[in-house]
């Protein structure tokens, strides 16, 4: 694995120098510790492909141009094995040994949490695309920027939607009963915190609040409770295994909750694995190729998907994951910032990133004081007859939400 990643890096380096000499562009080196092995490997590779694809597209579009010169990106990758302590060590290696001045993020909130103190200490701007936990943005980090929406927003539209439906049905949002079952890990707990806050704002009642164990294989106990207290909205978040177990047992136990919202539906491939049982379930996503965003480099979201599949044929038969799209967006942020800063000085680049305000195929990007992106909403998709259709927020919806859920 390591050998290949080195060969890849060397190969990429050679390729980029070859092009650079052809186009007379200089090279800007970025660094990234990313999970190529370990439990996050699948998504780590998605993110890396997103980075590489964006670099290629920017190169094809003439590179980064400022001060009468042009530049291309090159990324030095290391494999962090999905482990925090390893990630922090590698970040240091990138900065102190490879003299990297700008960083792209790793995969997952946990890894970003481990690396951020290092980049912060050295004052290295890091644009990350895969760490959504809010706990990243209350530490006062100045050099950390995230293009994705924070995790408490994942299911916010589901809560709003449940409130709207209650009003349509002649009740008030305050009558809505919410059941929450999330895994006991930082990411999912953040989702829970978000749902709790939104529900409290609308005056909803939390009737079930359970934490799923990490080695979850059976949640009948929770679903039995759901049957008894009959909530109006059931929220389950527990990575792929949470989604898989939930969809399977919801189908088996004939849970008739009118609205069910999950995360990681695509990763667990619930439509492929459980077919009809997954119908009418709501799924949170950072990005959907059906959205109407666009930019001059990648075109529209739909075009991004087509081009990406052409460049990486192994994605031909599946959906391009949002992890890839946001990784590409992170590289794009760097390009934009370098051009506005018109300098290679990392402080100037940092200030330029902080002032980012752009429209991309991935959505708007504008950073708050804390470094998270506040210009892009999360979207909610519903599985309708096996297809993922955007149903909320209403500004982006391509289909109407099916409510209440059909129970077969």
């Amino acid at each position: 694995m390591k050998l290949t990643s080195i060969t890849l890096a060397v190969g990429a380096m050679m390729a980029s120098t070859a092009i650079a000499s052809a186009a007379d562009c200089e090279t800007i080196t970025l660094g990234s510790a990313i999970s190529l092995t370990g439990k996050y490997a699948t998504n780590g590779v998605h993110a890396k492909n997103g980075y590489e694809f964006a670099i290629k597209k920017i190169d094809e579009a003439g590179g980064i141009k400022f001060g009468g010169k042009c530049y291309n990106f090159n990324v030095i990758y290391y494999d962090d094995e999905s482990k925090g302590d390893r990630g922090a060590t590698l970040a240091e290696r990138l900065i102190s040994q490879d003299k990297v001045q700008y960083m792209l993020g790793p995969y997952s909130s946990g890894l970003t949490k481990a690396i951020a103190p290092v980049t912060e200490k050295y004052g290295i701007p890091m644009v990350e695309a895969e760490g959504a936990s809010r706990s990243l943005f209350n530490k006062g980090y100045k050099y950390l920027f995230a293009v994705l929406s924070t995790s408490e927003q994942y299911l916010a539209s589901a809560v709003t939607l449940a409130g709207e439906k209650a009003v349509e049905g002649g009740k008030t949002a305050g009558d809505v009963k919410v059941a929450i079952a999330v895994e006991n890990d930082p990411f999912s707990l953040d989702i829970r915190a978000g749902v709790m806050e939104d529900a409290a704002k609308l005056g909803m009642k939390i009737v079930i609040d359970e934490k799923l164990p990490r080695d979850l294989s059976d949640m009948t106990a929770i679903l039995t409770k759901v049957k008894l207290v009959k909530p109006d909205l059931l929220v389950v978040s527990g990575h792929s295994k949470g989604a898989a177990t939930a969809v399977r047992q919801i189908g088996e136990q004939k849970i008739s909750t009118p609205m069910i919202a999950l995360t990681h539906c695509e990763a667990a491939d619930v439509t492929g694995n459980f077919g009809a049982a997954a119908n009418d379930i709501l799924c949170a996503t950072q990005w959907s190729e059906t959205l109407s965003y666009s930019d001059p480099i990648f075109g529209t979201a739909a075009e991004y998907e087509v081009q990406f599949k052409a460049a990486y044929p192994e994605y031909a038969s599946k959906k391009v994951p949002y992890q890839t799209a946001q990784a590409s967006a992170a590289v794009y942020v760097f390009k934009d910032a370098f051009e506005r800063a018109a300098s290679l000085d990392k402080e100037k680049v940092r200030d330029a990133i902080a002032a980012t305000d752009m429209k991309t195929f991935y959505g708007g990007i504008k950073f708050s004081e804390a470094g998270n992106n506040i210009a892009k909403p999360m979207v909610l998709r519903q599985i309708q007859d096996g297809a993922y259709n955007v149903v909320a927020p209403s500004a982006f919806a391509s289909h109407k939400v099916n409510w209440p859920r059909k129970t077969n």
Binding site: G84, V118, S133, N138, E152, E183, P186, L189, E197
Partner: protein, 355 residues
């Protein structure tokens, strides 16, 4: 002490002090190496010297982490508020607050762990053989699960501690010396302890508990005190570890039963049970093995590690020291007759052997 031995110890001490400056790029690994040495030596106190094979010593490591973190937070902020602030709020620590928190936290962690060893030991020391191992393992697993459900200490989110206030490299050296000082103190303490009556008593418990009892050894008291002393040092090491990791959570970093909890046992078996230097050598060998496989057998490193455990336990249970003792008895001198000289001789011989 002979001249030779004094020289050896002095050389070792210089090496210990100099190594973080000589190998600055390995700062983190060197700190972790000390952690392994400490936990291996403390495990050997009960496992090797007293014959009680605990699989739950990781309980004290995790508890130490939590106690140290909670003390250092509680000195400045309200804990519930601090851990509950996943969404907003910022908490800064001044330099003075950081260091007071560090010192009080790690020592407090040690004391708390020693006390809890008394309580847990009172129940589990009635168990013999594999039941003691299973029982202590149960305690560690249960503790991890309960802490992960306890919102006041952050639940499954874990705790994020403040970063070292000074320069990053300086922080690494600070952590290294915190570990190294604990380790050296532990070594000096054990070197003395194993030569006393107390050491003889716990060895007697290992060899035959019933007979020891019949000889008038208050076995329960000895067992509890030994475990409490070992728990104190693991607790301190855990506390330092909390400040090293900065951000930790209950199941995978604090109460990591199947990682560090087993590694410490393997270290001891690798080096040789019931010897002063065995655990140290074992920890060094284990750490090297781990780093090498992690670098060159990526993906298969856990398979290699499992294989190492199986091979060590099945084919090589006496460890390096045991093997040396049978193949090179002359290095150990007259170990049979001069009981008093046993440990230091062993120490010197191992030092030579290690070179």
């Amino acid at each position: 002490m002979s001249v030779q031995k004094t020289g050896l110890y002095a050389a070792l001490l210089i090496f210990i002090v100099a190594s973080p400056f000589v190998f600055p790029t390995f700062g983190v690994q060197l700190g972790t190496l000390w952690l392994m040495i400490i936990v291996a030596m403390t495990w050997d106190m009960t496992g090797g010297q007293m014959g009680y094979n605990s699989l739950g010593n990781i309980f004290f490591y995790g508890t130490g982490m939590y106690v140290a973190a909670l003390i250092s937070i509680a000195l400045v902020y309200d804990v519930g508020e601090y851990t509950g602030a996943s969404g907003g709020g910022r908490y800064d620590f001044t330099d003075a607050q950081y260091f007071t928190g560090f010192v009080l936290g790690t020592i407090g962690a040690g004391i708390f762990c020693a006390l809890s060893a008394f309580v847990i030991g009172y129940v589990t020391f009635g168990l013999r053989g594999p039941y003691f191992a299973i029982g202590t393992l149960g305690v560690a697993i249960a503790a991890g699960e309960l802490v992960s459900n306890w919102d006041w200490v952050g639940g499954g989110q874990g705790i994020t501690l403040p970063v070292y206030p000074g320069d990053l490299d300086e922080g690494k050296i600070f952590i290294y010396f915190a570990y190294a000082i604990t380790g050296v103190l532990l070594f000096i303490f054990l070197n003395w302890l194993y030569k006393t009556r107390f050491g003889a008593a716990i060895n007697a418990i290992r060899d035959d508990e019933e007979k020891a009892e019949a000889m008038g050894v208050h076995t329960m008291r000895y067992k509890l005190v030994t475990w409490a002393m070992s728990a104190f040092f693991i607790g301190v090491a855990g506390g330092i570890s909390a400040f090293q990791l900065i951000s930790f959570e209950p199941l995978e970093s604090a109460y990591q039963t199947i990682n560090l909890g087993i590694f410490m046992v393997v270290c001891v078996l690798l080096g040789g049970k019931g010897t002063l230097w065995g655990p140290i050598i074992g920890a060094i060998l284990f750490q090297i093995f781990k780093e090498v496989t992690w670098n060159y057998f990526l993906g298969w490193q856990w398979v290699a590690l499992g294989a190492l455990i199986v091979v060590t336990v099945v084919y090589f249970q006496d460890g390096l020291m045991g093997w040396l003792r049978t193949t090179r008895p002359e290095w150990f001198g007259l170990t049979v007759d001069e009981r008093d000289d046993d440990a230091p001789q062993t120490a010197a011989a191992a030092g030579e052997g290690a070179k």
